[in-house]
């Protein structure tokens, strides 16, 4: 049904909020926009209360622009910065308890598969480094071991930003943060390798320097999860507040990290590769 619920019943247009009418008329539901058209249509997320210069907010904007099927997508998040923007988007959002995203998503995806066996209902977790790799670690890993068919996107700002700047498992070694008064004593956790070992069928790592590439990666991860199993994107989304990155330098910082430990990386199983090549070949044909 998907699109049907987005439409406004005839006669009700004048009673619906302007914002909603605009979303239906000029939004991405049922259409395909290229990410480079951002700003030329009504986007799924607009207002948000995130900090000026927050690179996570930018990543989330591109993420919503990249959804292959926004009218049949459910996003899950947990405590942390990301949910401040995720909860403002015109896509159903589940905000459960601390670090529970991948367990809730497992139950949700299974329920939707039972009830709608012939439809794609995309379930996407967008949560931070703390939510996925610290407090929710067991649930993240086990959702991958169990081969649950949904996408997990880690927006890694290398810190607990929302609670005031504490060390996380994804903070780089040596960095002095709250709760690490002498500097972090162990290495940044290698989430990408964990994802591969745990059974993800598509794994990518990126710094958000290239919107087209972010969009393509998000789209690939979601499409692959529909058919083959868990997919994972590790995105560097710096915290300009806790890491004192001047607002004008956040892109430069991302480019710098891209040269070091966030070089674009993409890995997928052979069957996912074959599938995505086929999907993308067909899309090109349509465009021609």
């Amino acid at each position: 049904m998907g699109l049907e619920y987005v439409k406004i019943s005839p006669g009700f247009e004048k009673y619906m909020p302007r914002d909603y009418v605009d979303l239906v008329k000029f939004g991405p539901f049922g259409k395909t926009y290229d990410v480079m058209e951002l700003g030329q249509y009504k986007e799924l997320v607009e207002d948000h209360p995130m900090c000026a210069g927050c690179y996570m907010a930018y990543f989330i904007r591109v993420f919503y622009a990249a959804l292959p099927n926004p009218e049949d997508t459910i996003v899950l998040g947990t405590a942390g910065c990301a949910r401040l923007a995720l909860s403002q988007a015109a896509v159903p959002f589940v905000y459960g308890n601390y670090g529970d995203t991948n367990a809730v998503a497992s139950g949700l995806k299974r329920a939707l598969s039972i009830r709608f066996p012939d439809k794609h209902k995309d379930v996407v977790v967008v949560a931070g480094d703390g939510g996925l790799i610290d407090i929710g670690f067991g649930m993240t890993m086990h959702s991958w071991f169990r081969k649950e068919k949904f996408t997990t996107i880690m927006v890694d700002n290398e810190v607990y930003g929302n609670t005031g700047g504490q060390e996380s498992g994804m903070s780089p070694k040596g960095v002095q943060l709250k709760m690490a008064p002498l500097g972090k004593k162990f290495d940044k956790i290698n989430a990408v390798e964990l994802a591969k070992i745990a059974g993800c069928v598509y794994v990518a790592k990126l710094a958000p320097t290239n919107p087209k590439r972010i969009a393509r990666t998000v789209r690939r991860a979601i499409l692959a999860a529909r058919h083959f199993g868990p997919t994972f994107i590790h995105a560097y989304t710096s915290c300009n507040i806790e890491y004192s990155i001047p607002t004008r330098d956040v892109l430069a910082d991302a480019r710098n990290r891209e040269k070091k430990d966030f070089k674009f990386y993409e890995w997928m199983t052979d069957e996912v590769k074959e599938f995505l090549e086929e999907v993308e070949r067909k899309e090109k044909e349509v465009k021609r």
Binding site: A90, V104, G107, A111, H142
Partner: protein, 394 residues
Amino acid sequence: MPEQQRPEQKVVEPEYLLLEAPRERKFITGSQAFAEAVKRANVDVAIAYPITPQSETMHLVGDLYAQGYVKDYYRAEEEYGAMSAIAGAVRGGARAFSATSGPGLLRGLEAIVSWPGHRIPAVLGVMTRVVNAPLSIQPDNIEIAYLLHSGLIVLHAENQQDVFDFTLAGFAISEKVDVYLPVVVATEGFFVTHAKGYVDLPPDDLKLPPRDPYKAPVPPTDCEIPPARIQRDAPVQKSNFMSYLIHAVWQQEVWSSNRRAAKWIKHYLGGLIEVVNPDAEVFIVASGCAAAQGREAQRYATMEGLNVGLVKVKSLRPFPEKELREVLKNAKAVIVPEHNIVGWLAKEVKAVIPNSGIVVDGPRVYGGMTLPVELIMDEIYKAFGIKKERKTVV
């Protein structure tokens, strides 16, 4: 499993299945009684995690999945994950069941006590077991106290028959539009789960209607119907005023819904309480296994010519406040036997009657030991001013 390979079961209304269908007597364990209820409940998703003494129930539910009675089932990573996944499945429109015990319940508690606020109609079996240290696997029921202040509906089963009836009715009650809350069916581990009792069962080729997630005060998260609103604002990021106002009105509604469950508990289970000898001078008020021992004590006392009554509390939430005030209005003493050290039921009873001084604190056993009827008899004799010499054997 394709639909046509599932066992054939006719869908009937809960009224027929629970109240009218012919019943056949079986001699089964409490764990089997849980599974027999799930078999007839048209469950979509069951999620398991091992802990003694609960495990056997979810083994049996796993067998039901293998046979096609339950559509999806898995062994979760641990209880927080299991209970979170239950929330996800129910949000997605499925009917869901899980069960746990003692430490497992406490591990899952953050998720479980948020189900009412998230409006998650599910059924959870709680087979009590010692929590806290020193460790024991025995059926102390202190964990029930942790469940009473969260908005959950909490039923406490005395025996295997109650387990079956409460669990099956639990699914019907939890999904009522004016309730829409999770139902906990608690019972004592081992005493009920691993012991056999007579259970009258309706035929197993009947089942409840499937869950209709659109018959709901809160829509499912399935992108199929207009959402109550596309969530553009999370309360937590509004001003403090908005944040506490929204929480306050939402929780008021949760607790109003909890109270509204009372009429459905009466409808399907005959009342929040059961009273034996309503004209008694001295009452035993008990729930779960303590009610079974109280029942024996009431019988002994009657044989000895003492006017003793029993109030079995079937529903701990909603708590039968009016009912207890009415039954106990002429009582001289109220004895509250319990399987825990804190006496949560005695506190509840004291809080709802005007003359709480008549409540006797106990007898209580804890650590999961059995509750001898003699301990209750001692309190009955005291209440009647009868002095008894206790024969010491050792």
